[in-house]
């Protein structure tokens, strides 16, 4: 056969066996280690467990324990994500390491192989370091299970497919990164950074916006959903978590793993395209692809600007947001010149100052635009007719039962109008609020001294989420908004608007979440906490036998009459102290499992509501049930405070306190 005929064969081939064999054998420690790791974790551990259990279990128990152990194999995928991420990188570094030194790159590219053949052979060799060990471990584990009489292929198949998908993605991603660099040490950096770049950068930009923009709290959830998808370790860890479905342990989102595996294939194709156009002389360069160099340079500048800026700003305890702009600019330029040094492999990079000018201009412009809110972000309050619903969180109020902390979703136009007033009032407080954020202690002292010397000052941390008629959403968040008791009657103030919202009984019903409990849960038990025992002179918990449902109905009746579940903006106000008890009524209930709950048919939780002296139906039933009597009292907060103050110590009765107790009208 002539050489032409023989060589044409290799010319059309996209795979070379000799190269594959050589690569596979050269890097045997990688796949041997990977095989050993999984062998230890799967078949060996199963076998060791079986041997351990054999001595201490009946055959039936042993079978059950083994079945249980086998069914839980997919749990290993939670570790598998990290393992795939690390091993994918290691394999990519190994098989494409020849690209990073001039000698090896020249030697490999002088071989009579097309680049496609070189790439595909090396790519498959690296992938085989991961997939072949998994197949071997799969077979070994199946054989072990069969030998132990607990063969269950489905959990094992789930593990094999999902781990294979994870490895395919992470390895391909690492190969993709490998094509952009000519330096071995740069590859893990690129890979690590790109895996979490979206998450880190979004967090940083969010933090900067939070500092610059009054009312900015976070990016909308669709942005974060996208960021999660661009942060593979995050989204895939979640996707391979285990949930219980139909009495079986299954992966939470196996489809997502498949999608990422497909993305891995796409990345490998992209990597091949880059490889085809790659210049071999780029070996040793931090960035091997010319077109990507500006992206790298300005990307490093941006990352350095945001990270360094935020770090320095926090380190130097805040100062003004213009200071932050200065630090972002400084670190951005430092990052730019550092990137230039890496690209040019020289410290003499000041000649590249021309490229720094547009960077500085962009940073300054962006910072100023955010600082002076050229986009109208801060002042934007939607028109009432634009809002279809609003969710309000952080309407902090007393007492501290289940009525606090829950969000309110409002669709009633009147209630929406109140929220809009609340929003406008928060905007009116911008200047004071910024002072409070920059100097919380000083500002608080100022408020106490100047604004309301006789009343009380509390702070609200409001989050507003508007659903607008055009289908979009508007989100704002305000921290440490001061509310003062003297403003309660002043229409248009923050205090007034918040008070109005809290005085609406429908809103209160939503805050307490009765509907959820009644619709989905089963009441199990009830008890009172912090009941004052006049004999032991201590607060105690009193459990109530039976009558849970009756007690719930009595409480609901009181709630409907507005005698329980009343919220107070000011914790220490006279009204609050006199009209709420120190005693809380608790209901235990069983709730259905949440999505993602593993092996749980229901879970227990509890609901609490603070008793009031006016809750006649509830109190009557509690007395009827002998839960409250002469010795077991539900003291009002005022009484409890008097009791405590009168004793000069906690819970020690005094003459004054006894008088209060004796005068208690139940």
């Amino acid at each position: 056969m002539s050489w032409e005929v023989r060589t044409m064969r290799s010319g059309t081939s996209f795979f070379n066996t000799a190269l594959f064999r050589k690569t596979f054998l050269r890097f045997w420690p990688i796949w041997a280690l990977y095989t050993a790791g999984w062998t230890l974790v799967l078949p060996l551990r199963l076998w060791a467990d079986a041997m351990r259990w054999k001595g201490s279990s009946t055959p039936k128990e042993l079978a059950e324990r083994l079945q249980n152990a086998v069914s839980q194999i997919p749990y290993l995928l939670e570790v598998g994500v990290a393992l795939a991420a690390v091993m994918g990188l290691v394999c990519a570094m190994a098989v494409f390491s020849y690209l990073y030194s001039s000698r090896s790159a020249c030697m490999m590219h002088a071989l009579p192989l097309r680049r496609e053949a070189l790439f595909l052979t090396q790519y498959l060799a690296g992938l085989s370091f991961l997939l072949l060990p998994q197949l071997a471990v799969f077979a070994l584990t199946a054989a072990t299970e069969a030998a132990l009489g607990c063969l269950a292929l489905w959990p094992l198949v789930q593990w094999l497919l999902a781990q294979g998908g994870l490895c395919l993605f992470f390895y391909s991603f690492a190969v993709f990164c490998a094509m952009f660099t000519g330096h071995l040490a740069a590859l893990p950096v690129f890979y690590g950074v790109l895996n979490l770049l979206a998450f880190l950068m979004t967090s940083l930009v969010e933090a900067v916006c939070d500092l610059f923009l009054y009312g900015f709290r976070s990016f909308p959830s669709p942005v974060w959903e996208l960021v999660d998808h661009l942060s593979p370790p995050v989204i895939l860890s979640n996707a391979v978590s285990i949930v219980s479905r139909d009495d079986a342990f299954v992966l939470y989102q196996p489809g997502l793993v498949a999608v990422y595996a497909a993305a891995g294939v796409a990345l490998s194709i992209a990597a091949l395209l880059i490889y085809r156009s790659r210049h071999i002389e780029s070996a040793g360069d931090v960035v091997a692809v010319k077109l990507v160099r500006p992206l790298f340079k300005y990307g490093v500048a941006l990352c350095a600007g945001l990270t360094g800026g935020m770090f320095t700003y926090e380190l130097l305890s805040g100062l003004s947001d213009l200071t932050l702009m200065g630090w972002i600019l400084f670190w951005g330029l430092a990052g730019y010149f550092a990137a230039e040094m890496l690209l040019r492999k020289s410290f003499r990079v000041l000649a590249a100052w021309k490229g720094a000018v547009p960077l500085a201009a962009v940073i300054v412009l962006l910072s100023l635009s955010v600082h002076y809110d050229w986009y109208g972000f801060e002042d934007r309050v939607p028109q009432a007719d634009q809002v279809t619903a609003v969710t309000l969180n952080g309407l902090h109020s007393a007492p501290y039962d289940d009525g606090q902390g829950r969000g309110l979703t409002l669709e009633d136009p009147e209630q929406i109008a109140l929220v809009l007033q609340l929003h406008r009032a928060a905007l009116a407080l911008e200047e004071e609020n910024r002072e409070e954020e920059s100097d919380p202690q000083g500002y608080t002292e100022y408020l106490y001294e100047e604004s309301d010397p006789q009343g009380y000052t509390e702070y609200l941390y409001l989050d507003l989420h508007y659903e607008l008629a055009d289908g979009t959403a508007l989100e704002r968040g305000y921290s440490a908004l001061p509310i003062v008791e003297s403003d309660r009657g002043v229409e248009g103030t923050l205090t007034w608007a918040a008070g109005q919202l809290l005085s609406d009984r429908e809103n209160m019903e939503q805050l307490y979440g009765f509907h959820d409990i009644e619709a989905n849960c089963r009441l199990v038990a009830a008890y009172l906490e912090d009941v004052w025992n006049t004999q032991t002179r201590q607060y105690e918990t009193v459990y109530i036998d039976g009558s849970t449902e009756k007690l719930w109905q009595a409480m609901k009746q009181d709630f409907a009459e507005g005698t329980i579940g009343v919220r107070y903006l000011f914790d220490n106000s006279v009204e609050r102290m006199e009209n709420t008890c120190a005693t809380d009524l608790y209901f235990d209930y069983e709730a259905p499992p949440k999505p993602g709950d593993v092996g749980i048919s229901s879970y227990g939780s509890s609901f609490s509501i603070t008793l009031t002296p006016q809750a006649s139906h509830t109190l009557a039933l509690l007395h009827e049930l002998k839960v409250l009597d002469e010795t077991h009292l539900a003291l009002t907060n005022r009484e409890a405070e008097a009791l405590e103050l009168g004793e000069g110590g906690a819970y020690a009765p005094s003459t004054q306190a006894e008088a209060v107790i004796e005068g208690y009208d139940f």
Binding site: W3, E4, R6, T7, M8, R9, S10, G11, N16, T17, A18, L19, R21, K22, R26, S101, S102, R103, S104, A105, C106, M107, H109, A110, L111, P112, L113, R114, R115, A117, H279, I280, E281
Partner: protein, 300 residues
């Protein structure tokens, strides 16, 4: 035949090859010389299909080399800086190359074992001395039975005996199989012994490309002594490149037909006139002396 046409290659703005054109006849031994940084290794990497030219073309028998396994499988390359896989022995590399080069000859591998007795084929190549690594490289390259052998500073590190042996093997291949050898070296004396064609590179261009015989036939070193000890006024059309005087002896380097030059100088009735052959080194110095200082550097 290797044909390089107007190849341009830049590295980060530096033009390493600047419209380089050269041709290597099949079955010839072509010496590529030039100062450091002239572009010798760069053009060799283009010829072996490693680098892609920014413009221009590199062809072997009319076929482009880049991304052409059919052409590259006929070619073996020994770089100035050798690379072998970590812990790979000569035997391991033989097995590797055997799977890549269709013409690889196992019998020759065994035969050449005697030519390189110092090389332990089972020992990792990286543990061998520099000279032995070079021997291993020649051993493997010759077993690939290449039609074209590209050598970058090939005998650097070899002892004189082994140099002679390696050249002997190469010339044997040229004679028996018509192998084309393209060799870059700074050792002009050695090239003079083996090359039949020479190309001189400077600043990414081939300044001169000719057969060694043509070169030597076109320039003459003439030692003359005139009766009064003074050099007479020579005709202006006589292309005198260089004149030196030692005592009464004048040495003239003159470009042109030797017989014509001798007859024209004889007109001045020198007491002594002797024509001496020029070494390759001297040819470079005098032929290209006014062309580029860097060319002089390589021979001084």
């Amino acid at each position: 035949m290797i044909q390089v046409n107007n190849v341009v290659k830049s590295f980060d703005g530096f033009r390493a090859l600047d419209g380089l054109t050269m041709s290597v006849e099949g079955g010839s031994i072509y010496g590529l010389v030039g100062p450091n940084g002239a572009g010798k290794s760069t053009i060799l990497r283009h010829i072996t299909g490693i680098y892609r030219p920014d413009s221009g073309s590199v062809r072997v028998d009319g076929q482009p080399v880049y991304e052409n396994p059919a052409v590259k499988s006929r070619m073996a390359w020994i770089p100035d800086e050798l690379y072998y896989f970590l812990s790979a022995s000569t035997r391991d590399m033989m097995k590797f190359y055997r799977g890549l080069y269709p013409q690889f000859d196992d019998k020759r591998y065994q035969t050449l074992k005697d030519a390189f007795p110092a090389v332990d084929e089972k020992q990792p190549i990286r543990r061998l001395s520099k000279g032995m690594q070079k021997q291993s490289a020649f051993w493997l390259a010759l077993c690939c039975m290449p039609d074209i052998l590209v050598l970058d500073e090939p005998v650097d590190g070899l002892d004189p005996v082994m140099r002679r042996q390696v050249w002997s093997l190469l010339m044997g291949d040229v004679a028996q199989r018509g192998t084309t050898v393209l060799v870059s070296s700074h050792n002009l004396r050695e090239l003079e012994d083996v090359c039949d064609h020479v190309g001189i590179l400077s600043h990414g261009k081939v300044l001169l490309e000719r057969s060694l015989t043509d070169l030597q036939d076109n320039i003459l070193k003439l030692q003359v002594v005139f009766p009064d000890g003074q050099l007479p006024q020579l005709p202006p059309d006589l292309n005198v490149l260089h004149v030196t005087q030692l005592g009464r002896v004048h040495t003239l380097i003159v470009r042109g037909e030797p017989a014509v030059i001798k007859s024209r100088v004889a007109v001045f009735s020198p007491m002594l006139m002797e024509a001496l052959p020029l070494s390759l080194e001297e040819i470079f110095i005098y032929e290209l002396g006014g062309e580029d200082y860097a060319v002089r550097d390589i021979v001084l």
